[in-house]
């Protein structure tokens, strides 16, 4: 079996609700694989099952060819986990956080220290090696958590929302480091609800909604399958955009009326815009842009707010 992660009909039920409702997933070695979805879609529950800290309720799950129900510690020995919320030890120094964690994997002290120095260099925290963790910024803590996830030279790295809550500079630095890991051939599995993150990092991804997988493929393939090549965003000078929907009928594949604008999903944006003008409609503003993963995401999982 070549899949590092192999799931068939994987289910996780908690009292009264089903978090993961029968998903099939295969992640191959060297791949960067993403779980996308709104809050409550079942991403984190899936990650916890893959991380062997949450036993599946039903279905098949094999991680690195082993069964998490039986081989939890053996699997975890080869995983690196970067949880959604940092659980670093704030009282220990940056280096101690890595060396004490390395010991849990049975790594000898001397090796642990050498590896800690390498990893701190990798995540650009060498200068803070001896300072306590507590005063570090959010971005530094996240980088340290990523370094900690790499301390056992894992075959598979799990990242649960690796850049949530970080400022743009910090996010880009994390992305750049993750990209380098990917280039080194490390298999990455991440969850995110940032589309740009998924487009930047993932070779392949699944979109989850309500515990199920609703779409699967590369970012490009998903856009091709579930959206049009381009999107025209029109704003009309009125409080009620919906009055214009009829007048736009027939342009492009479909139109979506939002409170403040109308989106036309079209093959060629300029052609569509020309047609809009030919119908003597004059939007206050018009924007032609390429379809993004965000369009796919919103199309598949809806615009309703999930908290």
């Amino acid at each position: 079996m070549n899949s590092l992660i192999h799931a068939r009909g994987l289910i996780k039920r908690f009292e009264g609700f089903t978090a993961v409702d029968g998903i099939d997933v295969d992640v191959r070695a060297g791949e960067a694989f993403g779980f996308l979805g709104p809050n409550g879609a079942g991403k984190s529950s899936t990650m916890r099952m893959i991380g062997c800290v949450s036993p599946p309720t039903d279905g098949v799950l094999r991680i690195l060819g082993m069964d998490p129900r039986r081989d939890g510690p053996r699997i975890r020995a080869r995983l690196g986990v970067c949880p959604q919320l940092d659980n670093l030890d704030p009282e220990l120094t940056v280096r101690e956080n890595l060396t004490t964690y390395a010991r849990f994997f049975g790594i000898p002290r001397r090796v642990a220290r050498a590896r800690a120095d390498e990893l701190l260099d990798f995540v650009q925290l060498s200068e803070r090696a001896d300072s306590r963790v507590e005063p570090l910024s959010g971005g530094m803590k996240r980088r340290l958590t990523i370094a900690r996830a790499l301390v056992n030279e894992p075959d598979l790295v799990l990242l649960d929302e690796p850049t949530t809550g970080l400022d743009p500079q910090a996010r880009h630095l994390v992305w750049e480091r993750l990209f380098r890991l990917k280039q080194q051939g490390v298999t990455l599995v991440l969850t995110t609800h940032y589309m740009d993150e998924a487009e930047q990092l993932c070779d392949r991804l699944v979109v989850m909604d309500g515990g199920r997988i609703v779409a699967e493929g590369s970012p490009r393939a998903l856009i091709e399958t579930h959206s049009t090549r381009e999107v025209v965003e029109l704003r009309f000078p009125t409080d009620d955009q919906s009055g214009y929907a009829d007048k736009l009928a027939g342009i492009g594949d479909r139109a979506e009326v939002l409170p403040d604008r109308i989106l036309l999903y079209v093959g060629d944006g300029d052609d569509a815009l020309a047609e809009v003008h030919r119908r003597s409609l004059s939007p206050a503003s018009a924007l032609v842009r390429r379809s993004s993963l965000e369009d796919v995401f919103l199309h598949l999982t809806g615009r309703t707010l999930v908290d």
Binding site: V53, R76, Y101, R103, F104
Partner: protein
């Protein structure tokens, strides 16, 4: 076994930051209590207790009580923090550790802490001439057993709550009465029947009784075996309870 030691090592590294202050306080505290109770109160207990001067009679009780205080201190807030605030346990459970390793390593560290403060207390007591027999060294294993009998069930309790309000309740309604009614400061024979049963049921009195026999060099008789076994039972039951509660929280 080894994974538990790795977990204990983590707690020791963490302890390294504060060990100086903690060693100092584990020396100063017995010194103060010994002066205050032994010398101060002892001056009024002119006839001694059970034919023994008050200070040497009370010291083994204080040592057992110190072991219990230490065990409770380590199995309440630090455990809750490992679940709720710092979330150390969750970081550990992502590593190749089992629940038993995480719990066992932390308990081993708690026992280590108790051992060091009991050793400090013994040292101070010896300097005060309050130890009457070389059997006093037996206090060390007794204190460890007593500490396990308390720390394991208390860790189970802590693992079952989500705010430290419940820890304050535990201290007020369980620990305080246990400290008062377990023969630390006066023989439990002075207590009414009902309160004497508090002493019999809870672990502390058995530890006090065993420690007292050790430092005074009195033959405790076969009852000591039963008392020790009773403490073992608390420890074993506490371990299984704690393992069950930890598992419920870490493996979901």
């Amino acid at each position: 076994m080894t994974p538990s030691l790795q977990v204990m090592e983590y707690h020791l590294v963490n302890y390294r930051r504060t060990w100086r202050a903690s060693v100092l306080s584990s020396l100063v505290l017995p010194l103060l209590t010994m002066l205050g109770f032994g010398v101060g109160v002892g001056a009024y207990v002119t006839g001694g207790v059970e034919g023994v001067d008050y200070l040497p009679w009370m010291v083994p009780g204080l040592i057992a009580s110190t072991a219990v205080q230490g065990a409770i201190g380590e199995s309440t807030w630090p455990v809750l923090s490992s679940f709720e605030w710092v979330k150390t346990y969750f970081a550990q459970s992502a590593a190749p550790l089992r629940v038993a390793d995480i719990l066992g390593g932390h308990l081993a560290f708690m026992l280590f802490r108790v051992l060091t403060s009991v050793m400090a207390f013994l040292l101070v007591a010896a300097l005060f001439g309050a130890l009457r027999s070389p059997w006093a060294l037996a206090v060390l294993p007794i204190a460890l057993l007593l500490a396990l009998a308390v720390a394991a069930p208390v860790a189970a309790y802590t693992a079952s709550v989500s705010t430290d309000m419940y820890l304050a309740i535990l201290i007020r309604f369980a620990v305080l009465p246990m400290s008062l009614f377990s023969g630390v400061f006066f023989p439990i024979e002075s207590l009414p029947e009902v309160l004497r049963w508090v002493a019999f049921v809870l672990p502390l009195w058995h530890g006090v009784d065993l420690c007292r026999a050790a430092t005074l060099g009195i033959d405790p008789g076969p009852g000591a075996v039963w008392q020790a076994l009773y403490l073992v039972a608390w420890g074993v039951a506490g371990w299984f309870l704690a393992h069950w509660r930890y598992r419920g929280r870490l493996v979901i």
